[in-house]
Symmetry: C2
Subunit: 510 residues, 2 copies
Amino acid sequence: MFQTAELGQKVAKSEFKQRELVLRENLLALQQRLRLEGDFPVMLDFAGVRGAGKGTSINMLNKWMDARWIVTHAYTEPSDEERERPLFWRIWRHVPPKGQIGIHLSGRYSRPLLDFVYGKISQEEFNHHLDRINNFEKALADDGAMVLKFWMHISRDVQKKRLETLENDPLRSWRMAADDWKHWEMYDRFIEAEEMIISATNTGHAPWEIIEGEDFYYRSLRVGEVFLQTLERHMMKEQIRQKYLSEMRKEVHQHTSQAEATGNGNGKGSQTITIMDALDHSLSMSKKAYRQELAVCQARLAGLHQKAAQKKISTILVFEGPDASGKGGAIRQITEALDARYYKVYPFAAPTDMENAHHYLWRFWNCMPRAGRMTIFDRSWYGRVLVERIEQFAGDDEWRRAFAEINDFEDQLIEDGVVLLKFWLHISKDEQLKRFKDREETPYKRWKLVDEDWRNREKWDDYALAAHEMIQQTSVKKSPWILVENENKAYGRIKVLNSVCDALEKAVAD
Amino acid sequence: MFQTAELGQKVAKSEFKQRELVLRENLLALQQRLRLEGDFPVMLDFAGVRGAGKGTSINMLNKWMDARWIVTHAYTEPSDEERERPLFWRIWRHVPPKGQIGIHLSGRYSRPLLDFVYGKISQEEFNHHLDRINNFEKALADDGAMVLKFWMHISRDVQKKRLETLENDPLRSWRMAADDWKHWEMYDRFIEAEEMIISATNTGHAPWEIIEGEDFYYRSLRVGEVFLQTLERHMMKEQIRQKYLSEMRKEVHQHTSQAEATGNGNGKGSQTITIMDALDHSLSMSKKAYRQELAVCQARLAGLHQKAAQKKISTILVFEGPDASGKGGAIRQITEALDARYYKVYPFAAPTDMENAHHYLWRFWNCMPRAGRMTIFDRSWYGRVLVERIEQFAGDDEWRRAFAEINDFEDQLIEDGVVLLKFWLHISKDEQLKRFKDREETPYKRWKLVDEDWRNREKWDDYALAAHEMIQQTSVKKSPWILVENENKAYGRIKVLNSVCDALEKAVAD
């Protein structure tokens, strides 16, 4: 694999100067086009051998282009903030928005490589990391992102010379790192692991480009030219793909409408009962019993949450359900029992411009709690397979692949030790009407009811079927959906509180 | 996950009869369209709980449609033939050609599930299996295949009733399997593993459909209707996708030609030296030395191959290189030393019609040797990234993703214990001309030279660059490319023989 990058490729300085001029002009023009027309982000990753020119190549790209639209992230040891969150949090934070270029230095590949070479993780764990990376890159690429990865390579002998020169140069010897010589001794072991990385993660949508790093002029030109070619090709392909996707979505929509008209619609036909129909709307609790229970539950929750905070166990609660199903009320009963420094509630509505310029999961990754906190999502990433599906903000292809993306996302949270609970609050269609009318008639509740609520109500059956499918695809033992009969709010709220307490009790006992 | 399939969905017999008529007509018509217009294969997989109606559902599909274009494969314990080959061999064998429907019962998912539930494989190995399955399904789906998977479910209680009824029915009790009750006891453990399977492999391009299996009428209709809807949608989507791909490929081609005209072509520009340029064409061996060496090497090979055969170690040799680079000669020196019962040579040229109706890897999977044999590929799957790339038989997207597909494929061979060696035989452009002329002038060699050889020769540089990239992307420690300087055939052939012997010696010693 790497012998192809030990050939002694060279470019003379004079030739470099000449070609640099052309390249620079082309890069700048293309970057402008990306900003104005490019409806996708660009993610560059630099990895490879010490001394092979990762840093200087990044500097060249920044010099050649308009640095205002390039953000470079160099990853070192994770900070406190980062260590307390799932592994990919720091990577997701730095995904650039559409039209911009993000450069990652020693990013997602660095840590698994070092851990594996140092024997801190097994071959299986290493592979698992690489799978996660593949899922991450696939999610971005499916969304249109250009992902390009440079592997900078020099041979063992060249590296030795590099390190010696550096060491003996009084003005640059400060650049030597403590483990430079140690890693040089381990050169072969690194190469072997690096080969594994590249074979496992060199996909059509996120390719590796191996660059011979010995000659400054050659490698700089090569990085610039490959970047230019790839971006040009991606711009062109992405334009055609967008056209194709919109045509496809139109056709799928038409097709689905037709099929539904003939009773052959998606998921309908033989499927007449949803999981929601199995809920018992008569479950209820008296006001008196509720008050008593509430006090007990809240006290229990307060104690458990303190223990969880001490043990640095994070909790994430997700609330979904039809309009007026009582999500807000259920959340308030929980937060009343908590110390304000240790929880956050994020209500989600339509995404902002900045959020829309990112992958749909990005805004949720940004809300990941530090260790020991509780984070409550009032509506969540499940919007992708509920409202976005039904209102066709997400295409057929997008919401269908979202199930796998969401399962992967939640798997990362659970792997990180997060206690994850997902509540589906449910009411009957009649009860919803009653609550809507109550909102209309009560002055201080009127603001809560908007026209959209009535429109959504007309699509009650579509939502029920989408929710049924969502539960089918994403309710797993490690993070089950808890269905809450909330026709009677007292009953529902106590069920929610008890579920949270039971899960925390189990988690702090482990 | 499965609680959504324990709702007691039912369809009355009278309703079933009515809807079956419509469904059947639609299915038959659609199957006809698939045969005539559908440029893709259909792969259905049935998995799930014992007694949930997998078999009867498959029978219904066969009854409803024209069974001549449906092939059903039910997988049981692997046969001798199957056990001696990599795991996926038996799956690949049964991938249907374009226009046809393949139904797999207890196929690729069954063995990892059982092995995991019985504790024969670890969680990591289980995940690894599921990754392989994902890669397999992705490769087919990328190629246009429709992949749909049915998970038939019944609850623990329903299963118990089913088994009791079966046991007490004198005419059907023979259907009881020895482990039916044992597996019922393990119901919860199975469900947990099944959840893992579905979450990990439920992708947009190969979705799982969970079917409630209690009621015969409901489940049969549901399977038929979901299949019908999915196939209709896939036909429509695939038509648009084909249009898009051909437009995309045309644009990419135009773009590449333009870029090449300006010296900015794919991989060119700064990249002027290829790995082939580093080869020393002066390496040679005298005729006398060759004859001596040859006898020694062949004797050594014969002995080692016998040992390998006894130890059931299979060997796969791949030969690639420019026309007239001496692949045939090198292969003959090897086979001369072997027992004809224990080796096979497969020369590959353009694919046949039947091969073209399958994924490009299919024809190579079909050549996998039984344990202990040696299989020699005179040209191989690497055609995808050489001739198919350069002649544009494969689109830009296709050959780019082929690197990952090939790495995954070879990884499976190596994991299965195969000794895999890949030889790139190389000669200079001048030497090729000399050999072409020699072929022209020697009567008994003339048949070997065809017009295509001259045409390929004009694209020498393109081939060199494609081969360079191929080596960069697919030469890994576990299956390296061995570059053979074959300017002097004596030297080259001995290098090949020695490489094979060294690898076998290492393998039989392990």
